[in-house]
Every structure is written in structure tokens, then in C-alpha cells.
């Protein structure tokens, strides 16, 4: 049972990690806590659903179109709403993303109605692989693979490509980056697009795992946010580690101690860990100058 709990935990953790990564990408560059991340992923998933189910588009094309939609949505939000804020406070930005979350939630409810649906997905959520007695469903297995590959690509991207380095530069010092010739405004839009795409992947995987309906991202968003904080909101590997840890801890607690307090205990552990290491597991702690 222990092994099985850990494996399931890792599979769930991979989803949390993807959302955490999406949130971290944005937080890293622009210090916005994006609470609309979940609903952005949700609406992208609904677009994928419409393409796959109603229009019978083959999966790879549907995927590409969904990504396109995710990018447009994120850039639209960044340009039309966030950038227009005059001297925004941190809280003001949070409220803007929350407002956007409501708009998206309302839109999806209006367009597709409240009923639950099943997302047609090439990988089954019922069949499973059996590794020496450890059962892992195909969808969980592929979730793990997809997240690992995605994390690796993102790592390479931020480390070696010019654009990735420019994004890191913008995060460290916006003014200096601009002086060095980086178009920081472009960078912000790009950040949002990238994050929205990662979110869309997470949304589709979560919907494929279970059910597609408007509130499907509420719980994963909170857990993803928690994973991001656990790993340190400015560290991508931290977000991945945070997600995996959170998934495993939750499952072990649920399996051996109490199912009812499973969700809550994750938060308790995070608070305790944060008290010991206030900026998360893998993020550097900067001391602010006065």
C-alpha cells in the first residue's frame, strides 16, 4: 500500500507541479499572484473539448489550436487589463486576477452550461500499467512523463535561450534590463503566454483524469499555489519539488492517518515549513534594503 500511495501521490503531485510552474513563471517576472490561472486553464480545456467533441478535430490539431487560444487569452488579459492599471498595489493586482477569474468562470458557465462532461483524450484514465505490482494508470503515467519533459524544456529554455535569459534579467532588475535593450513589455506578454500554455496542459490532464466542469480547477489551483509557495515562489525546480512533495504527503496522510483532514494537513505542513524557511524550500532569501 505504501508504494501505491507514493505513486498515486506523485501522479497527483505532477498536476499540482504544472500549475505551480505556471504561477511561478508569472510571479518570477512580474510579481503578480495570478489567481485566474486555474480558470484560464479551465477555459482552454473547454475549448479543447469543443474542438475534440463537437468539431471532431484530430487531437494534435486540437492541441495546437488550444495552445493558440491559451496564448491569445493570456496576452489579451495582460494587455487589456493588467497593463492598464495605474500604479497598482500588490493587492490591487490580486483583485484584478480574481475579477478575471470570475469573468472566465461566468463565461464558461454561460457558454457551456453547468453540466459535467468527459474530455475525449487519447490516453485512457481507466486502463493501467502494472510495474511489479505497482499499478499506475496510463493517464497518471503520461502526466508524470509530460510534466517531467515540460520541466526539462523550461529549464533548458530559461538557462540557454536568449529569450529565457532576457526573462530572468527582467525579473532581477527591470530598469537595468531595459537599459540593456530588452523590451520588457514584450517579455511580460511572453511570460503570460508561456504560463497560460503550461496551465492549459495542466487543465487538460486534470480534466482527462476525472471530470470536466466549471469548478474543476478550484482545488488544483489552491494546491498548485501551495506547492509553488512550498518550493519558493521564484524557483521553477522548487515548484516541481513542492508539487511532488505535496502530492505524496497528502496521500500518505490520507492513507495512514485521516482522510477527512487530508486537504487541510497539507496547509498545516506548509505553514510549519515556511516558519523554518520563510521563502520556500529552493528559493533564495533576499533581505530587502531600507
Amino acid at each position: 500500500m505504501f508504494g501505491q500511495l507514493v505513486v498515486s501521490g506523485l501522479a497527483v503531485g505532477a498536476c499540482y507541479a504544472l500549475i505551480a510552474i505556471a504561477m511561478v513563471i508569472i510571479y518570477k517576472t512580474s510579481e503578480v499572484l495570478n489567481f485566474a490561472q486555474g480558470e484560464m486553464a479551465m477555459i482552454s480545456t473547454f475549448i479543447a473539448f469543443t474542438l475534440l467533441e463537437t468539431h471532431q478535430v484530430p487531437f494534435p490539431y486540437a492541441l495546437a489550436l488550444t495552445f493558440l487560444f491559451a496564448i491569445l487569452l493570456a496576452v489579451f488579459f495582460e494587455l487589456v487589463f493588467l497593463r492598464q492599471a495605474k500604479d497598482p498595489t500588490v493587492l490591487g493586482l490580486i483583485i484584478i486576477t480574481l475579477g478575471f477569474e470570475m469573468v472566465l468562470m461566468g463565461f464558461v458557465g454561460w457558454k457551456w452550461g453547468p453540466d459535467q462532461r468527459a474530455l475525449p483524450f487519447p490516453v485512457s484514465n481507466i486502463e493501467a500499467y502494472n510495474f511489479y505490482g505497482l499499478i499506475i494508470s496510463k493517464i497518471n503515467f503520461w502526466t508524470l512523463i509530460v510534466s517531467l519533459v515540460l520541466m526539462f524544456i523550461l529549464f533548458l529554455f530559461f538557462r540557454y535561450t536568449k529569450l529565457g535569459i532576457a526573462m530572468r534579467a527582467t525579473q532581477q532588475n527591470q530598469l537595468a534590463a531595459r537599459v540593456m535593450g530588452i523590451r520588457t513589455k514584450w517579455i511580460f506578454s511572453f511570460t503570460w503566454a508561456l504560463s497560460s500554455m503550461v496551465g492549459a496542459v495542466a487543465g487538460m490532464l486534470i480534466a482527462a483524469l476525472g471530470v470536466l466542469d466549471p469548478p474543476m480547477m478550484m482545488d488544483p489551483l489552491l494546491k498548485g499555489f501551495a506547492s509553488g509557495v512550498l518550493g519558493g515562489m521564484t524557483s521553477l525546480p522548487g515548484a516541481a519539488l513542492g508539487g511532488a512533495l505535496l502530492g505524496v504527503i497528502e496521500n500518505l496522510f490520507g492513507g495512514y492517518v485521516s482522510l477527512s483532514f487530508k486537504s487541510v494537513v497539507a496547509f498545516a505542513i506548509i505553514v510549519l515549513m515556511l516558519c523554518i524557511k520563510p521563502s520556500g524550500l529552493l528559493a533564495k532569501h533576499y533581505v530587502k534594503k531600507v
Binding site: 500500500m1 501505491q4 500511495l5 498515486s8 501521490g9 501522479a11 497527483v12 461566468g106 458557465g109 452550461g113 453547468p114 453540466d115 459535467q116 462532461r117 468527459a118 485512457s124 484514465n125 481507466i126 486502463e127 493501467a128 499499478i135 494508470s137 486534470i206 483524469l209 476525472g210 471530470v211 466542469d213 466549471p214 469548478p215 474543476m216 478550484m218 482545488d219 488544483p220 502530492g247 497528502e250 496521500n251 490520507g254 492513507g255 482522510l259 477527512s260 487530508k262 486537504s263
Partner: protein
Amino acid sequence: MVKKSLMFVGLLVFAFFVTAPASAQAVRGVTDTEILIGQWGPQTGPAAPWGAVARGTDLLVKIINDEGGIHGRKLKYFLRDDSYMPAKTKAIAKEFVEQIGVFAVVGGVGVATGMTARDYLMENKVPWFSPVTGVYEWIHPIQKYLFAMYPLYDDEAFNLTGYLHEKLGYKKIAMFYQNDDYGKQGVMGVDRYLLKKNIKLVAKISAEVTDRDLSTHALKLRESGAEAVIIWTMPTHAALLLAETAKIGFKPQWATSNTLSDSALMMGITRGLWAGMINSFFSELPDSNHPLMVKYREAHKKYAPSERWGVFYYAGIAFAEPFVEGVRRAGRNLTTESWIKAMEGMKDFQGIGLPVTYAGLKDRQGGKHVFYGKVKPDGNIERLTDWIRITK
């Protein structure tokens, strides 16, 4: 400055007390040509799928008005969205009574939401016909103006367990329920039956409403070695659990409450795993040949073709039919008292839902029957029994 302002205020106060009060109606919500009724239901938010009930009632109202109304009066229906938030439900109840002045409240999904409005409606003597949940809160204590119809979860679970145990011979029964009022009263019934037979549930696993990962729950159920598992949750959790158990190769006989009787929906979201489910039902099946069902299906095509003909959509009709029948029997001289008298005399009235019987002030739980069915692989339902009385 001070004087002026004070005078202004004085004038306001004066104007206020001088204006005469509006004349009161003879019976609230009943005019010569109209009967006003209202219903709340979650149209937005996580509980929105249940909002179909309130829209189904709208269809019934349209059908009745099309046929000329009841004794020369048309029904006027007010549908309000409470998003499943108690604070909003109470605001709606107050609006119904203080501002719109409805004759009665019909239906209404939700326990926590309905409970905030219950005492208020009763104090103001507003008839409330059948909240669409089967919990004891509606009939304990008995309220003069509140008529319940939805079969009690407790009795339903009691009988379902009996059916699994006696008719189908399952000995090891487990339960998977949602951690709230609804799930708890289901557990109550299962426990009550098993206690009588001196057997124990092999596992009692609960899920929180917000949980979206049920792998641990599935593992625990498999560990218990149950032969039959009773599910008492919302559709999402049932679907998640079936997927999780299927992949770890755990295939017991499933059984569930009538809350999950929308098998078309459930087949879709479980990707076919729903087949073989033993289910209890509170109304005719969606494709039934019952003459009323045929009539309603036609009206549905006419008035609301874009709505899905799901169980909870026409439940909105089923849980309003006895109310309408009561209004009909009360006659042209419709008052709260005459309606209550008509309702109290109702015996085995049946529309498309379960038969309804009331007996004076002693019994306000009108619905006491369900029937069982088994979901076929094509999503249709094989009817296993006729209407069975579950509440003794």
C-alpha cells in the same frame, strides 16, 4: 446651517409617517388572474448542475398557463439564483415574501440554504411545497406550512442496503459518502439496516466536497475487500471514484442513491463505467411511455429545446405537480388554508414522480416510495422493481 439640516430631516421624518400604508391583499400572492409562486436554486457556482430543477418547474408553469391556468388564474413564476449561498437564499426568501408577495415557495435545492429560510417562511405562514432534498430537517419538527415529498435519504439507504443484502445476497458491504448532510443521512440508513442484521460495514470512506483526488479513497475501498459498495456523493465524486477503482482493478457491485439517477450524464462522465450500477429512482425514466411524460417531452421540445432532458430537469416538474394538484383541488376560492386542506387530503396522487400521500398534521413526508433499476451498457435502465414503499 445646523438649523437648516435639522429642518430638512424633520420634514423627511414627517413625510414618512404621514404617508398611508398600502392596502393589504386578501390572500398574499393570489389575485383574480394570477397566482404568484417562487423558487430558488443554484444557477451559478459549483452546485449549478442542480439548478436544472428550478428551470424544469418553469416548463410546468408554461404548460399549465398554456392550458388556461388553474380555475381562471395563471401561474406567475419567479426563479432566483442563490448560487448555493445561504446568505443569498435568505435574501431571496425575504424578497419573495416582503416585496413580491408570493403565494407559495415551490421546490428549492439545498439543505444549508433552505434551512436559513425555513423558519422565516413558517413564521410568515408561507406554504413551502417540497424542498428537493430528502433530509429530516424538513419534517422534524413538523411544520404546518411545509410539505416534503423527496424520499428520505435515510430510508432510501436503509432499503437499498436491504435490497443488496436480501435480494442479491451481498455480505460485505462498504460505503463511500460525501461528508455533509446528504452523505451523513445516507450513512445513517445503511448503518441502521446493518445493525438490525448484526453485520458491520466493511469500510466507511468519506470524501470532502472539494476533494478532486480520490486515489487514496479507492485504495482503502479495495483493501476492505467489499463485494458491494454504496455511493452517496455528487456526480463528480462518483465518476472520479469509478475511474480510480477501475484502474486498480477493483470491481464490486455498485449501488447508489436517486441523486445520481441521471444515468445519461453519469455514463458520459464515467466513460461507460456506470453500466451495471444499481440505482434507485424517484420519477419515471427519461424515455418512459407514461402519457404525462410524453406530454412533457413534447412541451420541452416546444419551449426549451436547448435544455437537456435530464432527470433533474424534469424533477422540477415532478416536485411541483402535487402542489399544482393541491391548488386545483382548493378550487377557485384559493387561500393558504384551503390549499393546506386540499394537500392534507391528498392520497396516492401520482404524476411523473413518486406517489404522494399526506395525512393531517401528523405526516408531512408525502413521498415514501422509490423503485430500483440497473443501468444497461447502452445507458438505458432496466427496471428491476415496481414502486417500493421505503418509509414505514
